[in-house]
Symmetry: C2
Subunit: 410 residues, 2 copies
């Protein structure tokens, strides 16, 4: 993509109305734009990161046998009444249709997915089944000051599984756990992400959260050194809170045994081999897609800007043409085309305005956090060279232009 044909403008200033580092950086670098507190647009660069995160999650979900569908946001009030959550979920947006009927704007989809699967799966032969979606979610949050970490509208992957036995559920729960670990590894945060026992509600002993260690986290997690198990503060007794050390963490995912809470609410059973009605065990598995983008921005940044992991970077190479001479831009055009032909995603800084000097281009490269910069300048061209910068290490090396295509960048 050519910078001059793209929708991108970085800013020298940190936005004054954001206290969260992730939002400050992502706004300054032109990835997102704030529409109101807790509500952001994903600009073209930001949408590219979102799509990469979605692809990783989708691949790992498909590997578990889960099947993608897409449910609506609007949900009839009666569904929420059946599960007794219409009045108890305080972040629920409520709307009135022109015909007077009330609907919820779904913050989670048990109220839709349970009767939906009920319409299709009734015999023991139809199980197990797991469906997932990637969708916009809505939460009427009182405070929304953490940028992408807590939004009033956000992107989510939510999966729901249905089983005929507790054992089958537990086996699948373990498969989802592994898929989540794979996802965090691919996102580059596996080493910082802990599997944490958390509150299981009134129908399950535990649920589990994936918590990424970070000072900006809203959660406190405690490690029991004897069992090497992490616990969320909410379920740690006072005695243990004194004994164990706590760490700040951000919840980046959550898997939850639902037992028969929701299937029971909808009177949803399956027919076993002998023709008898039996209860259905459910699990749900959530991961905040836009929140992941926020936590990556928090974790992978330095004083100069963002430093994306290769797996989610919007582009792999930032190609800077430096100077006034046509020869530089002609050579850069050529390199741009060659890299694209190799399947490398390139953001080509082809700006030739006077006010955009080398300093501005290098600063943009560093702010944007793209892994590599290739610099083509008049001076370098004299020796048929380009310069390769690595964002993470700051290392710069001259390379013969003929060698650019043999670099292993992806």
């Amino acid at each position: 993509m050519r910078y001059t044909q793209y929708f991108l403008k970085t800013s020298k200033d940190t936005p004054a109305d954001e206290s969260a580092r992730n939002a400050q950086l992502l706004i300054q670098a032109g990835y997102i734009s704030k529409e109101m507190a807790g509500v952001y647009s994903f600009l073209p660069l930001g949408l590219r990161v979102i799509k990469k995160i979605k692809t990783i999650i989708r691949e790992e979900m498909n590997n578990t046998g889960a099947i993608e569908l897409l449910m609506p946001s609007l949900c009839p009030k009666e569904n929420w009444k059946k599960t007794q959550r219409w009045d108890s979920v305080d972040v629920l947006y409520k709307l009135k249709l022109t015909n007077g009927k009330e609907v919820a704007l779904s913050p989670t989809h048990e109220e839709i997915v349970t009767p939906l699967v009920q319409r299709f799966c009734n015999s023991y032969k139809d199980f197990p089944v797991c469906v997932y979606q990637m969708q916009t979610k809505f939460r009427n949050e009182a405070r929304a000051k953490s940028g992408l970490l807590r939004g009033r509208e956000f992107l989510m992957k939510d999966a729901y599984s249905f089983h005929t036995t507790q054992e089958d559920f537990e086996a699948y729960y373990a498969i989802q756990k592994k898929a989540y670990e794979k996802i965090y590894d691919r996102l580059g945060i596996g080493h910082l992400t802990k599997y944490v026992a958390a509150d299981g509600g009134d129908f399950s002993e535990f649920s589990h959260e994936f918590q990424t260690l970070s000072e900006v986290g809203e959660d406190d997690i405690f490690l029991d050194p004897e069992t090497d198990t992490y616990f969320n503060k909410e379920i740690v007794s006072d005695a243990n809170q004194k004994k164990w050390t706590s760490q700040k963490a951000v919840e980046v995912g959550n898997i939850f045994p639902l037992a028969d809470k929701f299937s029971k609410s909808f009177d949803y059973h399956f027919i076993d081999k002998t023709g008898k009605k039996q209860k259905i065990i459910m699990g749900c598995y959530g991961i905040g897609i836009s929140r992941i983008m926020g936590i990556l921005a928090e974790l992978f940044a330095d004083k100069k800007g963002l430093v994306w992991p290769k797996s989610v970077t919007p582009f792999t190479v930032y190609l800077s043409a430096i100077g006034k001479k046509d020869a530089v831009y002609e050579k850069a055009d050529e390199v741009y085309q060659q890299l694209k032909d190799q399947g490398i995603e390139v953001l080509y800084d082809d700006r030739r305005e006077k006010k955009v000097g080398p300093g501005q281009k290098f600063a943009d490269f560093e702010l944007l956090g793209i892994p590599y910069q290739i610099v083509i300048s008049e001076r370098l061209l004299e020796n048929q060279q380009g310069e390769l910068w690595t964002r993470k290490t700051g290392k710069k090396i001259d390379i013969p232009l003929t060698d650019i295509l043999s670099l292993e960048l992806n």
Copy 2:
């Protein structure tokens, strides 16, 4: 995809609570599921169709130079007050945040995109620019009885362009028109889709709709035979309504000159070469993604079910293994793998339950509307043959199994 591992169940019965043919067929064939009037889930098969439609639209939008981003649904009331549409758009859902502030659930995005682009593009050098998104839209419709043709929640591609001169706008409008024509051609409805002059509101002489001829259409369009131009009934005088013949049609897209209506509301101008403030001309370009799926289901169907165009079919081949013998399923497994390896999308009906006989499998193939069926049966295997059915023509031919891979199916 193996049928037994998929989330799919067809029904023998037409749903009783749907009057629209598109919804009846799509529900019966397991593509969508109704959550409430005008609100549907896209089941795995349906989501595959949606994704293909999105890919076609995305490719053609990118070809116009438009750049994809993603805006939120929630929009502050003050934006809608500025454009004086808070009280005048009757389908606007309105919500209250916990802090008492009111927000709209966007049915269209001028109120977000105009101030958004204003934050980035201010110099004449920044123009023209066109951004687009694929997103869920909300409309509080009084009646929602047309299935996917008119929903309370639906999927939409909306693009917005910004220009410094009327001429530049008009040139880009013509480019978008061409892109739309390409999209309808690729969707298989180009020959039925007319470019129709429609009401331009109070700021433009005309807008233009793309109307697909269909008896289920809610619109009446009139052809002026002298100028070979189509007009929407809403702008045709009584005299001409008597003179010209009308046809029923469904609106499948809309492009709209916005002049400076919205830029003016937000006091959005650009700075020209001489440093003077000048007005910004806008256009918007919409296409209903889920509505397209609905109209395709209306148009491409026969008594037996759906008949998808190849460009949007969820799978290209329906592979049916018929009978009880293991040898049949082993051969079918093999063919399944070979087709997949060739990049052909296959839905493999590997059901072996007694109650799923050949009749059921053939009926499912016909209901689902997948372009080809390959049948593997005991009888056919004796001669090392399979049977190739073409859904559209109903033609069946025996083919040597060794020839299956040389068929041109995609």
